[in-house]
Structure formats: structure tokens, C-alpha cells
């Protein structure tokens, strides 16, 4: 059961082979046994989970079950869930029991899917290794001395280790795709606006997007069917007709045009990652696809533009954490300014503070045009590059991350090196496009390698189809880490 797909679990529930309570109990037992080492969860609340499982079983007994009713899921601790401690990986929210549900949480509640717990993450989603969490780093199940990637590292690790069949994540610059790649699972960042941001604690509002993380593209499709949907409380939520993201899974790939950006296959891409990606390309050709070289000439500047735009938005988004209405307040202060400054100095970790300072600087008087406006113009150029590329291809393919999982502590003191971990993923967020990562092999040390697919706006169903066909022909996604 540990590594069953969502469809298999749903099948067990439908045929009465297992109840939701039983499934949840099994996963909770695994979490209890393994999480102390893995540290993938910040909060586990068995009582609450089992209460939700009982409700799901009752729903099924009453004949009102949906496709995934009773199947449990873990949620990144960035999603506000009523009654659950919601920390966003920060000391700032160490005591914040959310009084309301995020839209995504509501959607899973409506689908009858119990919450297994809240997963660990980089503080306020700022990080690529999960080492910035106030609640300690998450370990990579493939090598406990290594990082799981980030910021959705807890979600990726718990799915990879079989502590949950699936999890939610969020992706601002690669935070679903990079940890999915480093942990050997499948993750999808939808088109900006497909999943409501309401109740998802904001990092960089114009880039943030929630999405599913699971063992396969098929599972991701089923989860996206639950997560996606218009929400009037998010002004950037798009009013579109409800889609079935699994509708095209079975389509053959004959005639698929895969774009290979020459900038992704340059000098930065070497060794096992390059080899695995090339083998994946060969596999797609076998499945009937053709490839075409495309160019994303400005993608090399995406990291620079991103580290202006994301911190700028974050510096403002995180101003609400001031010790007045919720969360941490410093115990000793002399006056209001002292309270603010100490609360924020003590409540935020160093990476978050660094990004707030960068953001404050680039928006401050005299620097706005040179940094913020210039970055926004580059953002336009980057988006236009993609539009141009999609005149020649249906989907863009490349590596998800430049390397496999690195060692804990290896880049922790070097922000610039850490930022470059997202070199292949960031442009997608700037353009607002959908992107996904799926396992495509292992390096010499047995660490998973991720393959990135980037689609045109609203082409999630097509991307999932491409990934699913690949996963029918390969078994990388079915490999599991030894010891779990």
C-alpha cells in the first residue's frame, strides 16, 4: 500500500478492501515511525486526520463519494487550514492556528480527502533546500545526508518516502519542480491563475502558484482536478470552464513537437543529468515525438530578474508580520518601533530577512527604475521568448535542476549558489506558464534526476498526457528509496 497510486487507493476504497480510516492509520503509523528522521512534517494531528477519515467513510457509506474520497493527502504548511497550526516554516507563525481554510484546502475537503499533516518547507517558501525552515531541515529519503530541495521539500520527501500518497506544493521559482526532481517524484506547477492563491501564504504574489506533487503524472492529473477552479476571492484566479486534466492521458504522442531550448543544453548541463535528459529525449522519439531546437535568449537573465521581482513583492507581502494581530511578538520592547524591529529580527530567519532587505532596496527611492522596472521589462522579454518558441513546438523539454540533491549545508552559506539551483525553473514562473518535473533516471550515486516539461498557457492536460505516456514506457517514477 505504501507506494500505491491514488487510483489504486481509490480502488481499494471503492471496493471496500480498505476504509479511509485504515488508510490514514497506516500512513500515520509510517509518519510516526519515520518522520523523526526525515522531518518532512511540521504538524501531525492524528485525531484530526482520523476524524476527517471517518467523515470520508461516512460520505462513501452514504453513496456520496467522489473519485478520491477517503484518499489522504499531506499539505504544505503554506496553506491555511482551519484548526491546523499553519507556520509557513517560520518562527513568526509558530503559534498561528489558522481560523480559516485556503481555497485549495476547501477543495480537498469537498473532495473528501483527509489531511495527513502539514509538511515542512523553507521559511515562507524562500529556499531551494529546505534548510531555511525554522523547524529544521528535511532529509532526502534517497540519501539522508542530502537536501530534498525546496521550498516544498517536506511534501516531496514525504511522498518519496511513502509517508503520504500525495501532497500539495507551491512554486514561485521552482519550489514544486526542483524538490520533485531531487526526490524522484512528479510535480506540476499549473498556469498562473489556475489554482486559487486564497489562503496560500504569499511569497511573491505575481509568481506563486499551488500545484500537486505525487508519484506519477496520472496522480497529478487527478489531484489537479481537485485543486483547480475559479475562486472569486483571488483577483488573479482565472474564470475558465472546469477541465478534466486526465482526459488526454491515454493519447499517443505521435506528432508531438518537443522544443529543446539551446540555452538549457549548454555548458551548464553536464554528466549524469545531461545523459538522463538525452535518454528521455530518445524515449520520446520512440513514442512518436519529434524534436526541434528553440531559443529562449533571455532565459539566462531570469535568475537576475527573479531576484528583483520576488524579493520586492515579498518585502511588501511580509510586512503584515508585525507582532500586532497574530504570530510571534518579541517578549521585551521599549516602544512601538523597538517592538516591530525586534519581533521581525527574531521572528524571521536569515534568508527571509535577506530577501526582505533586497526587496526593500530595489523598491526604494532612486533604485526603483534601475531594478524593479528593468526586471519587469526583462520579464516581458522572457515571456515573449516562450511565445516565440511555442510557434514551433507543443511542449518544451529540459532538465529541472542543474544537479541532483546536494549535501545538507553544502550551499547553505552561499545564497548565490543556492539561487542558481533554480536556473531552469524560474523563467516559467516569470512567464506564468505551466511546468512540471518527472523522474528520468539516476546519477552515479543513485540520486534521482528530474526532467522538466514546460507547456504553453493552459496546456496542463497535454503536458500530463506527455508525462503519462513517458511513465507508461519507463519505470523511473516507480523506483523507491532503499530503507523506506
Amino acid at each position: 500500500m505504501t507506494y500505491h497510486s491514488l487510483k489504486q487507493l481509490a480502488g481499494q476504497l471503492a471496493t471496500g478492501k480498505a476504509s479511509s480510516v485504515e488508510l490514514c492509520q497506516d500512513y500515520l503509523a509510517r509518519i510516526q515511525a519515520r518522520n523523526p528522521d526525515l522531518n518532512a512534517f511540521i504538524t501531525v494531528d492524528a485525531e484530526r486526520t482520523l476524524a476527517e477519515a471517518r467523515a470520508a467513510d461516512a460520505l462513501r457509506a452514504a453513496g456520496n463519494a467522489g473519485p478520491l474520497t477517503g484518499v489522504p493527502i499531506a499539505h504544505k504548511d503554506i496553506f491555511c487550514a482551519e484548526g491546523w497550526l499553519t507556520t509557513c516554516g517560520s518562527k513568526m507563525l509558530y503559534n498561528f492556528v489558522s481560523p480559516y481554510d485556503a481555497h485549495v484546502i476547501e477543495q480537498f475537503k469537498k473532495a473528501g480527502m483527509p489531511t495527513l499533516g502539514k509538511t515542512n518547507m523553507d521559511e515562507f517558501a524562500m529556499g531551494s533546500s529546505n534548510e531555511t525552515s525554522y523547524y529544521g531541515p528535511v532529509k532526502n529519503p534517497w540519501d539522508m545526508a542530502r537536501v530534498p530541495g525546496g521550498s516544498s521539500g517536506g511534501s516531496a520527501a514525504c511522498v518519496a518516502a511513502g509517508l503520504a500518497p500525495a501532497a500539495t506544493g507551491t512554486d514561485t521559482g521552482g519550489s514544486i519542480r526542483q524538490p520533485a526532481a531531487l526526490c524522484g517524484i512528479t510535480g506540476l506547477k499549473p498556469t498562473y491563475g489556475v489554482v486559487s492563491r486564497y489562503g496560500m501564504i504569499a511569497f511573491a504574489s505575481s509568481l506563486d502558484q499551488g500545484g500537486p506533487m505525487a508519484r506519477s503524472a496520472e496522480d497529478c492529473a487527478l489531484l489537479l482536478n481537485v485543486m483547480a477552479g475559479f475562486d472569486g476571492r483571488d483577483s488573479t484566479s482565472l474564470e475558465r470552464e472546469q477541465e478534466d486534466y486526465a482526459r488526454d492521458l491515454a493519447k499517443p504522442l505521435n506528432g508531438l513537437r518537443i522544443g529543446l531550448p539551446k540555452e538549457f543544453f549548454g555548458e551548464g548541463l553536464t554528466g549524469d543529468t545531461a545523459k538522463a535528459v538525452q535518454e528521455a529525449i530518445a524515449q520520446f522519439k520512440k513514442l512518436g515525438a519529434t524534436t526541434v531546437e528553440v531559443s529562449l535568449p533571455n532565459s539566462g537573465l531570469s535568475v537576475a530578474a527573479y531576484y528583483v521581482i520576488a524579493p520586492a513583492e515579498a518585502s511588501s507581502n511580509l510586512s503584515r508580520f508585525d507582532g500586532v494581530r497574530y504570530g510571534y511578538r518579541t517578549p521585551d520592547y521599549t516602544d512601538l518601533t523597538d517592538m516591530y524591529e525586534k519581533t521581525r529580527a527574531e521572528g524571521f530567519g536569515s534568508e527571509v530577512k535577506r530577501r526582505i532587505l533586497i526587496g526593500t532596496y530595489v523598491l526604494s527611492h532612486g533604485y526603483y527604475d534601475a531594478y524593479y522596472i528593468q526586471a519587469q521589462k526583462l520579464r516581458r522579454l522572457i515571456a515573449q521568448d516562450f511565445a516565440e518558441a511555442y510557434r514551433q513546438c507543443d511542449v518544451i523539454l529540459g532538465p529541472t535542476a542543474p544537479t541532483t540533491a546536494f549535501k545538507l549545508g553544502e550551499k547553505a552559506d552561499d545564497p548565490v549558489q543556492m539561487y542558481l539551483s533554480d536556473i531552469y525553473t524560474i523563467a516559467v514562473n516569470l512567464a506564468g506558464l505551466p511546468g512540471m518535473s518527472l523522474p528520468c533516471g539516476f546519477d552515479g550515486q543513485g540520486l534521482p534526476i528530474g526532467l522538466q516539461l514546460i507547456g504553453d498557457y493552459f496546456s496542463e492536460a497535454r503536458m500530463l498526457n506527455v508525462a503519462h505516456q513517458y511513465q507508461l514506457a519507463t519505470d523511473w517514477h516507480q523506483r523507491t528509496p532503499g530503507g523506506f
Binding site: F96, A202, S316, S319, L336, S364
Partner: protein
């Protein structure tokens, strides 16, 4: 040296929407602290703003009313600063692309019929959210924060520095107050803070082209304070300069108790607001269709109505301004006119500006709370016009109508009948009384014949007294003259 005052006003008008600008919380005044502060208003982690259509519509209405350019695409920005009554740590406002740009408002400068019209240009008007309130009563040495007002929609209206005296600033503020209440975008309640004025004041030697350094007086919530604060500030600035000091750009507060302004902060401690487009809100598009529909539903505006009253009814500028100071007053006037006939326009205007306004002031009432309706005022005016009532009698009838109209079915004729206030017009009857008066006042008659004009007036008085004031004075005059001829 002769000094010239230069004033520009920034007016925060609270919009009349039911819900807040970015959340579904109520904007009703006076609720329990924080009971109308929803998750968006208190800025819980993860919440997002959604723009209220009603607030945008108010912005459009105002822009149309001042003949401004409406930015077909306008943008909301974040203004970043920390303050406990600002829960997000930023205020959502409009900076480079406000909803309204340009436009103007006419004011009357000078008293009575010497009043002339001056045009005050408006720079811009932008939509933004209000902050909460800090309550400084002592909570163990701490301040209490009430966020009920946080997120209330405001339209901030910024004028050009076109005013040259406190009186002009007050005239502009009043004209703006009339306009925003007239078009229904603001309830104008200054006590509740629905209409708050900031005044930018500077002085310069007469004839100098460039402006002096300005100081901004914050949060003036009555026209009287506006006038007092500007007058004080102008005197202070002139004194400073004449004493050899330079004016430093600053924000000041007016203290109504002392009548003085005091420094709040200088430009040096001015914030770096780090404005940038709010990524949670998209650019706002104003469709022509929408604007046209709003335009079609606009009432006749006070300026146009004022001109029409002067042109069509021959009213003075002063009367026209008074009658259009409030939309309900103007409606009362036109409703009365419709019943009394346009020929009586001047008479109706006089009554509204005179007895009606005085009675409203005395009773501290608004025209909407007046105990008489246009129908009664029209009847009263008609009875004056047809000679049934003298002005003096009419005032008595009016008094009865105002205080106990309900006892007479609110009927002018019923009151005239019941109180016997009809003007005596039977000349035979008046002649009989005159004959009596002449017989009894031979001394006055002789004096008059000896050339004393005063004696004539005494005789008129005697006749009026004998008729209990009901005789038509003009008629009495005429008959008396004839008898004495």
C-alpha cells in the same frame, strides 16, 4: 511687504458603498471595535483583495461631475509603511495611474451679489483604502487598535494650488462637499470623518512667480477649523519669514483648542513609501458602455442648475448658490416652483433662503426633516401672490404651518380660515374704518394738512391697528391719501 497666500487642498471623501473597497465587510459606522474587520481587513496570512465595483463607480461619477479625464486603464499600487492601524504594512492606493485626472470646480468668491466665479483646477482623484483607528485611552500604557475603518473606500481629491485665501479654500471645500453629496459618492458627514481635508499652505511676496515652501495641515474635519488653521498658518509663516527664518517643508496638525498648528514631521523624516503596482490586483478597465450608463444616470449638477436658476428665473447669484448648496434644497425649490408657478420663483427663493432656512437653523434641522412640504410652501406663496396674505400675515401662517401644521391638515387655507388671518380687501369696510380713525385723530389730520408727513404714517398705523393687521397696507395708503386730499 505684501504677501500672497497659496493653498491647495487634498480631500479624503469616504465613499457611500455598503462594503469595503477590497473585502465584503460592512462599512456601517459605529460598530463594536473590530467586529467589522474581516480576515482581509486584518490581513490574515494568505488573504487577498478583490475590488468593489461600487467604489469604482463612485470614482467614475466624480470624474464625470468635474469634467475630468477618466483613465480607461487605472492601476492600484502599494504604499509601504509600518503603522499599527495599517494591518498589511501597506496601503492600497493609486499612484501613477489614478482613476481621475484633471477637471475643475467653480467656486463663488466674494459676498452677496458682488460674488464672482473662480475656477479651481483639480489635479487628480484616486481610489484608496482607509486605515484603522488608534485609540489612545490608556490600556496599561498601551494603544488600542480598532480596524473597523480599515479598508473603507476613499476617493482622495487633490486640487491644484489655485486658492489664494482661507475664504477661497473654504468656498472650494464647501463646493466640493456639495458636489460629492449631490452625486451621492459621499455622505459628507464631517463628524464621522467622511470628508477630511488636508491643506497645503505657503506664502510668497506678491508678484513673485515661484511658490514658497509649503506646510501641510493634516486632517481638518470642519470648515471652521479649515479657515482657522489656514489663517493661523499664514500668519505664522509670514512672521517666520519676516523674522529671517526659512520655512521648512513639513506636516503639521491643527489644535482646535489653541487655534494653532504644530509640527508633526519634517520632510527629512518623510517616508520612503516604495510604491509599486499591487501584484494581487490587476489593472482596472473602464468600459465606455459602463461610463455612458453612469453618465446617463447623473443628476443635473449644482453648477449647471445654478446657471439655469439665474438665467431662467432671474435669481441673483447669491440666491442661486444658496439654493444649490444641497441637492435636497434644490429639489425642494424646483418642486415648490412646479406647484407655485415659475412667475413666483423669486418669492419662493426668498422664502426658502429666508424663513425656511432660518427655521431649519433654529431647530437644527436639515431640509429633508422640514415639517413642511413643497406643496404647502407653494400654497403660501400663491396666497401672497393673489393678495390673500400680506407678508406679515404669511409669516404668521408659516409659523403655524411649521409648528402645528398637522392640526390643520397641513393646509394653508385651513390655517388662514381657522386663525382668521385673511387680508382685508373689502374697500368699503376699510373706508369705514378709515373714517372712524380720521374722526378720532383730528390732531394728526391737521398736522398732516400743515405739511407733516409723519402724521400720515401715524394714521396708517392707526388704521392697521384697527384692522388687526389684516388690511392691505398699500390699499390703506391709497384710500387714506384720497380721503385727505
Amino acid at each position: 511687504m505684501q504677501w500672497e497666500t497659496v493653498i491647495g487642498l487634498e480631500v479624503h471623501t469616504q465613499l457611500t458603498t455598503k462594503s469595503k473597497i477590497f473585502s465584503g465587510a460592512s462599512t456601517a459606522f459605529g460598530a463594536e471595535p473590530n467586529s467589522q474587520a474581516c480576515q482581509v481587513d486584518i490581513a490574515l496570512p494568505g488573504v487577498l483583495p478583490v475590488l468593489n465595483k461600487g467604489a469604482v463607480e463612485c470614482g467614475i461619477r466624480f470624474g464625470l461631475a468635474i469634467g475630468a479625464k477618466l483613465n480607461r486603464v487605472n492601476v492600484f499600487d502599494r504604499k509601504n509603511y509600518f503603522y499599527p492601524d495599517l494591518p498589511k504594512g501597506y496601503q492600497i492606493s493609486q499612484f501613477p495611474l489614478p482613476i481621475v485626472e484633471g477637471g475643475s470646480l467653480d467656486i463663488q468668491v466674494g459676498e452677496g451679489d458682488k460674488a464672482v466665479t473662480k475656477t479651481i483646477r483639480i489635479t487628480r482623484a484616486h481610489l484608496e483604502e482607509d486605515a484603522g483607528k488608534s485609540l489612545h485611552e490608556d490600556f496599561h500604557g498601551m494603544t488600542g487598535i480598532d480596524l473597523n475603518r480599515a479598508g473603507t473606500p476613499l476617493l482622495e481629491i487633490v486640487s491644484e494650488p489655485d486658492m489664494r485665501s482661507a475664504a477661497e479654500a473654504v468656498a472650494y471645500a464647501k463646493a466640493l462637499h456639495t458636489l460629492v453629496t449631490w452625486i451621492g459618492t459621499c455622505d459628507g458627514n464631517m463628524q464621522e470623518g467622511s470628508f477630511r481635508v488636508d491643506a497645503n499652505v505657503s506664502v510668497r511676496p506678491v508678484g513673485q512667480q515661484e511658490f514658497g515652501t509649503r506646510r501641510e495641515i493634516k486632517n481638518l474635519n470642519s470648515f471652521r477649523f479649515l479657515e482657522q488653521a489656514i489663517n493661523y498658518e499664514v500668519r505664522w509663516q509670514i512672521e517666520q519669514i519676516e523674522d529671517g527664518h526659512k520655512i521648512q517643508q513639513a506636516t503639521v496638525l491643527f489644535d482646535p483648542d489653541t487655534g494653532e498648528t504644530r509640527m508633526m514631521r519634517t520632510k527629512e523624516d518623510a517616508h520612503d513609501y516604495r510604491y509599486f503596482p499591487d501584484p494581487d490586483l490587476l489593472p482596472v478597465k473602464l468600459d465606455d458602455d459602463w461610463i455612458d450608463r453612469i453618465q446617463a444616470a447623473m443628476p443635473e449638477l449644482p453648477g449647471a442648475m445654478r446657471a439655469r436658476f439665474q438665467r431662467d428665473y432671474g435669481l441673483s447669484a447669491y440666491d442661486a448658490l444658496g439654493l444649490t448648496s444641497q441637492r435636497e434644497m434644490a429639489t425642494f425649490f424646483t418642486d415648490t416652483l412646479a406647484l407655485a408657478g415659475e412667475a413666483n420663483a423669486k418669492l419662493v427663493a426668498n422664502w426658502l433662503q429666508g424663513e425656511v432656512s432660518a427655521s431649519l437653523n433654529r431647530d437644527e434641522k436639515d431640509i429633508t426633516q422640514a415639517p413642511i412640504a413643497p406643496a404647502q410652501l407653494a400654497d403660501l406663496v400663491k396666497r401672497i401672490a393673489d393678495g390673500t396674505l400680506s407678508n406679515k400675515l404669511a409669516k404668521q401662517v408659516f409659523e403655524v404651518l411649521w409648528t402645528e401644521g398637522d392640526q390643520h391638515g397641513h393646509s394653508v387655507d385651513a390655517i388662514i380660515e381657522a386663525k382668521g388671518l385673511k387680508q382685508m380687501s373689502d374697500s368699503g369696510e376699510i373706508e369705514r374704518i378709515i373714517d372712524e380713525v380720521l374722526a378720532q385723530n383730528q390732531k394728526n389730520v391737521e398736522e398732516f394738512k400743515a405739511g407733516k408727513e409723519k402724521a400720515f404714517n401715524a394714521l396708517v398705523g392707526q388704521v392697521m391697528k384697527a384692522t388687526k393687521g389684516k388690511a392691505n397696507p398699500a390699499q390703506v395708503n391709497e384710500l387714506l391719501k384720497r380721503k385727505l386730499a
